[in-house]
């Protein structure tokens, strides 16, 4: 079972204007065909000479280059391969074929509040989540108060996380996440959190990212956000890029595609 593997390289070049370059990217998953996966099934399959899995091609020949300072929205239907693409860019999945070059420090937000544990207090969770973003204890100390200030949850900091409402948890997670400063941000549908007032704060944050010319890749289903924040949009369908360019045009094409 020798599996092919592509290249993902991280460089740090200030002269190069390209933040992310993806060439001939392919990815497929081996999905188990049997319900039970275990040693017994594996031995049976080996004896019978069956593979025990089907290959599902998720990404087929993806090519694009993202320049520094671009705010790129990736849109597409459920199961079109958007999240897989994001995870490959983040280095969580390995590409099967192709070359990826990441230029600069990349920070992925596949989900907010990664590693949050309900049994720990808010305070402990802040430090844990911070460590997962690469912050040391000392660095977290300096931004600790700001995080709670932004989340507006200061009075709950020593409560266990399981006593937070889900909205409160997301607000806390978001407040930590925005502290992370990288050259490239990968965001998977994390815009819509909290109530209307908190939503406004989030919008301000994304507006500021755009104004600062931060390189952002955003996977979203909200065409409103695509047209509001993005400088470019990429439409993916069945693992292929079918449109790439002006956010207004691409989101119009997507809306039309959904209608059919």
């Amino acid at each position: 079972m020798k599996r092919q593997i592509g290249n993902r390289t991280e460089i740090n070049s200030t002269t190069d204007n390209i933040a992310i370059s993806v060439r001939n990217l392919y990815k497929s998953f081996n999905l188990p065909t049997e319900q039970s996966s275990g040693l017994k099934q594996a031995i049976f399959n080996r004896l019978r000479g069956v593979k025990g899995y089907t290959e599902q091609k998720v990404l087929k020949d993806i090519n694009f280059k993202i320049k520094k300072g671009e705010f790129v929205g990736i849109i597409g239907r459920n199961g079109s391969g958007k999240s897989t693409l994001l995870k490959i860019l983040a280095g969580i999945y390995y590409p099967q074929k192709g070359d990826i070059i990441i230029n600069g420090n990349l920070i992925p937000f596949i989900e907010l509040g990664v590693g949050f544990n309900p049994e720990l207090t808010g305070r402990e969770n802040v430090y844990l989540n911070g460590a997962l973003l690469g912050f040391s204890n000392e660095e977290m100390d300096t931004m600790y108060d700001d995080i709670w200030e932004f989340a507006e949850l200061k009075q709950f900091q020593d409560q266990k996380l399981k006593n937070y409402s889900s909205g409160m948890q997301v607000r806390l997670a978001f407040s930590i996440a925005i502290r992370a400063h990288g050259n490239i941000l990968l965001l998977d549908e994390v815009l819509a959190v909290g109530d209307a007032a908190f939503q406004q704060k989030c919008n301000d944050y994304f507006r500021s990212l755009k104004d600062q010319k931060q390189t952002v890749i955003l996977v979203t289903h909200s065409m409103e956000n695509v047209t509001k924040f993005c400088t470019r949009a990429i439409l993916i369908e069945s693992g292929k890029i079918i449109q790439d360019g002006d956010p207004n045009k691409v989101s119009a094409a997507y809306t039309k595609m959904l209608a059919n």
């Binding site: 599996r3 593997i5 290249n7 993902r8 390289t9 998953f29 996966s37 275990g38 040693l39 017994k40 594996a42 995870k87 983040a90 280095g91 969580i92 999945y93 390995y94 992925p108 596949i110 989900e111 990664v114 590693g115 544990n117 049994e119 720990l120 402990e124 430090y127 844990l128 460590a131 997962l132 690469g134 912050f135 040391s136 204890n137």
Partner: protein, 273 residues
């Protein structure tokens, strides 16, 4: 072309922060919600010791000829608990932390090491207790106490190797966890922890020698020799042949083999877990 992807396997600043925080969390969560909390790290091995002591030393009257037998027994059971805790936590680490692996990108060995470090902390606390017990029992401090450092290190590296090797298979075949549990039960009786080596040697000296070629037995006997009594039978003073290096060879092979397997398989953990 493969080289470029494997270079980040170093303990850089980011990975150190991660390792520290994950270990801290593991340790905190282990005793979360219990009244006695961290005390359980001490109480569990002491209780196991009490049971073994009553059954084997008092009822079955084993080990009478060994000086300081109670501490000798405690030392063995503590190191054995360390080995079992290290391996079982390490093997399950990747699956237990699957949630993290699917969401952020970091060297996967960190979750295994952090899981085993909790066992290391527990073990170190218990070594302190053994030393106190030893002093109460009339063991005099000796330079040979430092011998336990390489022996403990060897035991840890062996556990880590097993955790890497079986942990990477466990991602796909969860049966490994159950198989290992049973295997460890059997292994316990193949190591002179509750019975002295001399008991085996009475029936067959070659059996005793083979038993001592097990790296776990060798490490435990070395620790007892160093810490408790120089009467403890060790591999190097009992197996007087070039075969004495076998335990070291086994340990290093398991570690190398485990690390390589883990490194190869870890690329697909995020997809498979």
């Amino acid at each position: 072309m493969y080289i470029s992807m494997e270079i980040p396997l170093v303990l850089n600043r980011k990975n150190r922060i991660l390792l520290k925080e994950l270990t801290k969390t593991d340790f905190k969560l282990r005793y979360q919600g219990s009244v006695l909390g961290y005390l359980w790290a001490l109480l569990r091995p002491l209780m196991m010791f009490a049971i073994l002591y009553i059954v084997f030393a008092k009822l079955l009257k084993i080990g009478g000829e060994i000086p300081h037998y109670p501490v000798y027994l405690l030392c063995g059971t503590t190191m054995w608990s360390f080995f079992t805790e290290c391996t079982s936590q390490g093997i399950q680490a990747v699956v237990a932390r699957g949630d993290l692996l699917r969401k952020i990108s970091f060297p996967k060995y960190i979750v295994v090491v952090s899981a085993t470090l909790t066992a290391v902390i527990n073990m170190l606390i218990n070594v302190a207790v053994i030393i106190i017990f030893a002093l109460i029992n009339g063991v005099t401090p000796n330079w040979s106490w430092f011998l336990i450092i390489p022996a403990i290190l060897e035991l840890y590296l062996l556990s880590l190797g097993i955790a890497f090797l079986l942990g990477s298979i466990n991602v796909k075949y969860r049966d490994i966890t159950s198989i290992w549990d049973v295997f460890v039960q059997a292994l316990f009786y193949a190591i002179p922890i509750i019975y002295p080596v001399s008991m085996v040697a009475e029936t067959s000296t070659s059996a005793a020698k083979i038993i001592l070629l097990n790296p776990i037995a060798q490490a435990i006997q070395d620790i007892r020799f160093g810490l408790i009594t120089h009467d403890a039978v060790t591999t190097w003073n009992y197996v007087a042949s070039p075969a004495v290096i076998i335990p070291i060879v086994i340990t290093l092979s398991v570690l190398v083999c485990g690390s390589l397997t883990f490194r190869k398989k870890s690329k697909f953990f995020a997809e498979e877990v």
